[in-house]
């Protein structure tokens, strides 16, 4: 079934540890995004990629990095996790930049202790 797959679904992490959240899509979408979801703050964009080989910073990029080596994969890395990064992380993709539905993964719940 075509779509976006995120891994892990859930993770508990000690502060200071490095963590990579994986995101893979098989829809050949050009644009991909990482959002974090926090109650009362909504969805906030962390990083985005308009096409393979390019990335950009979103609203809350500090402490996170991404790469887009190919069309399908868009991993999000926390170099040294902090408790404020406890959140639910959503990967999303869309075919075109100016129109088109945004498709979301199921989310990765991350708890940093």
């Amino acid at each position: 079934i075509a779509g976006i797959t995120q891994a892990p679904t859930s993770q508990i992490l000690a502060a200071g540890r490095r963590m990579t959240l994986r995101c893979t899509q098989d829809m050949r979408h050009n644009a991909m995004y990482w959002y974090r979801q926090d109650l009362g703050l909504g969805l906030r964009l962390i990083h985005y990629s308009n096409t393979a080989g390019t990335t950009g910073k979103g609203e809350v990029p500090d402490g996170y990095s991404v790469s887009r080596a190919n069309t399908d994969d868009f991993p999000l890395t926390l170099a040294s996790a902090v408790p404020s990064q406890t959140s639910v992380y959503f990967c999303a993709s869309r075919w075109t930049l100016n129109t088109g539905e945004l498709f979301f993964g199921e989310g990765s719940r991350l708890t940093v202790l």
């Binding site: 909504g42 969805l43 964009l45 985005y48 609203e59 075109t96 930049l97 945004l102």
Partner: protein, 110 residues
């Protein structure tokens, strides 16, 4: 700067009652607005976009440029409408990004 505001974090109604989820925006230009929904244990998905002018699951949303609003309405709420709803618009200078509001949790009681 582009901004989306959903003033209600929580909204509770009874089954069969009308429901309106508020969304206000600030945007320079002509915006394309969306409503996304997240049902329990499901992923976020597009509910409707103002360009299509369609009704999805009985919901409609009209863009009011004068009031800079895009409220989501349904005349008779159903229990299965209980979910988290997000209003969204393009992120402006960075092409292709969507800016989301804070979200409203709708609970429809039997």
């Amino acid at each position: 700067a582009q901004r989306v505001t959903q003033p209600e974090k929580l909204l509770s109604v009874f089954k069969g009652a009308p429901v309106e989820l508020k969304c206000n925006y600030s945007y320079s230009g002509s915006p394309e607005l969306f409503w996304y929904v997240q049902y329990s244990r499901q992923r976020l998905q597009l509910l409707l976009r103002h360009i299509s002018r369609e009704s999805i699951k009985g919901f409609t949303a009209d863009l009011n440029k004068g009031e800079t609003s895009f409220h989501l309405k349904k005349p008779f709420a159903q229990e299965e409408d209980s979910a988290m709803y997000y209003c969204a618009l393009p992120g402006g200078t960075s092409y292709g990004k969507l800016t989301f509001g804070q979200g409203t949790i709708l609970t429809v009681h039997p």
